[in-house]
Amino acid sequence: MSDWLLVAVAFSYLGILFLLAAWGDRRAEQGRSVINSPSIYTLSIAVYCTAWTFYGSVGRAAEAGPSFLLIYLGPTLAMLLGWVMLRKMVRIARAQKITSIADFISARYGKSGLLAALVTLIAILAIMPYIALQLKAVTVSHAILTDYPELPSKLGEEVFWQDKSFWVALVLGIFTLLFGTRHLDASERHEGLVVAIAFESIIKLLAFLILGLFVVFWLYDGPTELFQTAAQKSEQITRLGLEAVPGGASGWVGTLLLASLAFITLPRQFQVLVVENVDERHLKRASWLFPLYLVAINLFVIPVALAGLLLGDAGQEPDSFVLTLPLAAGLELLPLIVFIGGLAAATGMVIVETIALSTMVSNHLVMPLLLRWKWLHLDPDRNLSSWLLGIRRIAILVILFLGYLYHALLGESYSLVTIGLVSFAAAAQFAPSLLLGLYWRQASAKGATLGLIGGFLIWAYTLLLPGFAQSGWLPLSLIEEGPWGLAALKPYALLGLEGLDIYTHALFWSLLVNLGLLIAVSLFTRQKHLEQTQAALFTEALRPEVMQTHLWLGQTSREELHQLLTRYLGQEATHKLFQRFQTEVTAEANRSEEDQLAPPELVAAAEQALTGALGSTSARVLINSVVRGEALDLEAVLSILDTTSQTLEYNKRLEQKSAELARIGEELRSANERLRELDRLKDEFVAMISHELRTPLTSIRAFAEILRDSRDLETDKREHFLGVIVKESERLSRLIEEILDLARLESGRLRLNPEPVDFRQLAGDSVDAITQLFQEAEIKLQVQLPTQQAWVIADPDRLQQVVINLLDNARKFAKGKPAQVTLTLEAWKNNWRLAVEDNGPGIAEEEREKVFEKFHQIQQEAASNSRQRPGGSGLGLPISRGLIAHLGGRLWVEDPKKLKGARLVIELPRAPEQEAKADAPPAAPSEKTG
């Protein structure tokens, strides 16, 4: 078959692929996604089936019987049993904008940069041979087609530009670059890519099915004949028996486990399963549709392997049976179809794997290093988004070149299956930290890091080193006798563990060490703050409320955030992001742009956007550089998690609300009751005032009318009546004054003019003012004043009003022969106390506070049978108490001391001495009490 035809066919195929990808991307931009279908999702997962499947399954079947099936039973189990776990991963990846498996693991363990870099490095080392394998498959298949029936020429003999695999790598690199890095945001899904990959999955399946049908129904007369023919050649049949499986039963288990783990942890599988998933519901269909795909693509593996063995084409590798069988039959088109199928399988893997790896390399190796270089920070105008794309493109080319190097240097020494399984075993090292981290909150970054390192070292020792030895780079004695002849360290039989195939052996030891370190170290280390938060978010991811939490409590301005995002994401993406949060801006529109605080949702969204572009570690570093304050702490996260579901939380809130409503209702009721009571009191007060006002008014009117109507009144009667009118008028005025005082006191608008007052002087003046009344009533008034001045701070007029009121009350109540009243002023601690006592009936214990209520005496009238009616408004004492309280003192009733009547006491704080007096005691510092 001519070289140019093959090249033309290959390029045409790649061209179609590219057009498909472009179409998918355009549809996605128009918002009419073509990949929002579980079937396309399933087909994209089928990127699992690489050239290794396409060529290697037949090879493995021919050499090791049905053990090849384990490679597909593993993913089948993972899909059927593990889709719930995958859904959790999808949900987390969506919420945290995860870009790769390295990002995922790093994010789980507190966005650890070290862990991300470690995963990336292991992934590169693990995948390099796998990529080499694809290159080898394409190159070998090309060589077989061009050279048949000659054996393909040995590789690595030409200079590299004559080496086909170099050009294959280059073309694939350019192709990957073209639609893998069109967007910066790696978590913005590569829809075109997924379309192309799904298409490739169809092509490789169709190609293999056509080949299988050809073998079974063209070369043989149906499966019966094929198996009968094979049965006659018993030596081939035994090679296909179960006993051919390496390592026996443990080998089965080992390979099954290996395949099911790798199905999830291989970077490209993580990419299509988790990162490129557009709808987690697709997982459900894929959980049974994908195993069906695997059944279909493996349906003809054994017949083809049998036929290949029966053909007995000496020298041809079993890996090449799929090509040599139709070629041997002299066909032209079918080998070409098979070649395209193989190309589809290889390119699909290479493209997705390279994109996944390049994202990891740029996000977790290159960017963290660049971010540490200060000079990048010094130039805020530099648009780093184009940088990122450049880095990623270079990474793609470098990865493919490394794959090519591996292929050129080591490619000859392994069969396809061997290379594949070695890669699987390395990728499986991600499983403990990835999967345990989903369910065990305590798993810590230190544990994960040490586990990964330990597992990786064991892997390298048990699989990589022996491989080097077999390639002749290291002495073979390393395998046979162990290093320095130590049998316990034999790479294929560590600590004397024999009887397992090398993969199961390596997997056993590496996972044991990996898992052991992860658990042990996690148990004995404390998680850091952010680590705890992330661990909680990951393990509780299926709770709907978790991912809605905004995790930033710190503050930053919109402006700062805007600048940061523009640098890394470019103008347009930043603008879009900020527009989403436009509504919040209006609330703060009156503030200048620079001062506007970025709401926590915006900060969280910014971090997510940066995570999409740079990975979680770098994004966290950048956000931290502008945000002042803390991320939401663990307490807060846990408190969110502790409510078992959103519904519960909602119910709780409802309950709280209704309890609150009930409480408010109760408050309203009691307030209403209180208002009614106040209203009643007010009515009563008004009624009493009206009563009190009407009483003097009645006398005034009556006498005025009498004077008007009786002109011939005797002069002395006339004088008497006029005197009554004047007195009652005075009483009326006084009453009105009191009512106003009371109103002012109660509303707090009473204006006092406090000044230093000599209480002794004031008491004497008050006695002088009222002494006339006492003399008229023949009441004995005894006054006891201190020898020194008694300074207080008070409004003198008001204080005198109170003292006179007390004396007047005492005068009214004083009884007996002789009626007596005493006034005493004396020092008491830091106060002055003025007491007025009478020898009247006194005030009962329970009445002592009530006398200060408004109109108390009137209320009392109806209740008691007391015939005492001292006259007066009933407002004097309430007003007096209010005034004294305003002056910082107290007024109360206490037990009588000298006269067995009522005793009222005014207490006012001492003020400093105003003028020095020789006989005055040292002044006590004034101290207002209230």
């Binding site: 009206s690 009563h691 009483t695 009554v724 009238e861």
Partner: protein, 125 residues
């Protein structure tokens, strides 16, 4: 000469009523509280009562009630005096059997007429 008993705890109001009643040609008795009023009714047998409601001790209503409960005083003309202007009290007084109800401050002329009316319905002006 008809006898009028004036019951009020305000001395000046008693003074004015006493003068008015004397001027109108009645003889006047006074009391400052309910108990005294009841005693005076029994002792002096007045022809009419001017009875204040707010009194120390037993109130004017109680005095009214006690009198109306005795056959001898069921027809005794009683005019209630009050400084409370509320309608309910007037109703209460009328329900208890008061003949009239006067709110303070009152018109002296009118009060005198009311008293005259009750004592001698025929001499209506």
């Amino acid at each position: 000469m008809a006898k009028v008993l004036v019951v009020d705890d305000e001395p000046n109001i008693v003074l004015s009523l006493e003068f008015l009643m004397q001027q109108a040609g009645f003889s006047v008795l006074t009391a400052e509280d309910g108990e005294t009023a009841l005693q005076k009714v029994e002792q002096e047998n007045p022809d009419l009562l001017l009875l204040d409601i707010s009194l120390p001790g037993i109130s004017g209503f109680e005095v009214l009630e006690k009198l109306r409960n005795q056959d001898a005083y069921r027809q005794l003309p009683i005019i209630m005096l009050t400084a409370h202007g509320r309608e309910v009290e007037k109703e209460k007084g009328m329900a208890l059997g008061a003949d009239d109800y006067v709110t303070k401050p009152f018109s002296t002329q009118q009060l005198v007429n009311q008293v005259k009316n009750l004592l001698d319905p025929a001499s209506k002006p």
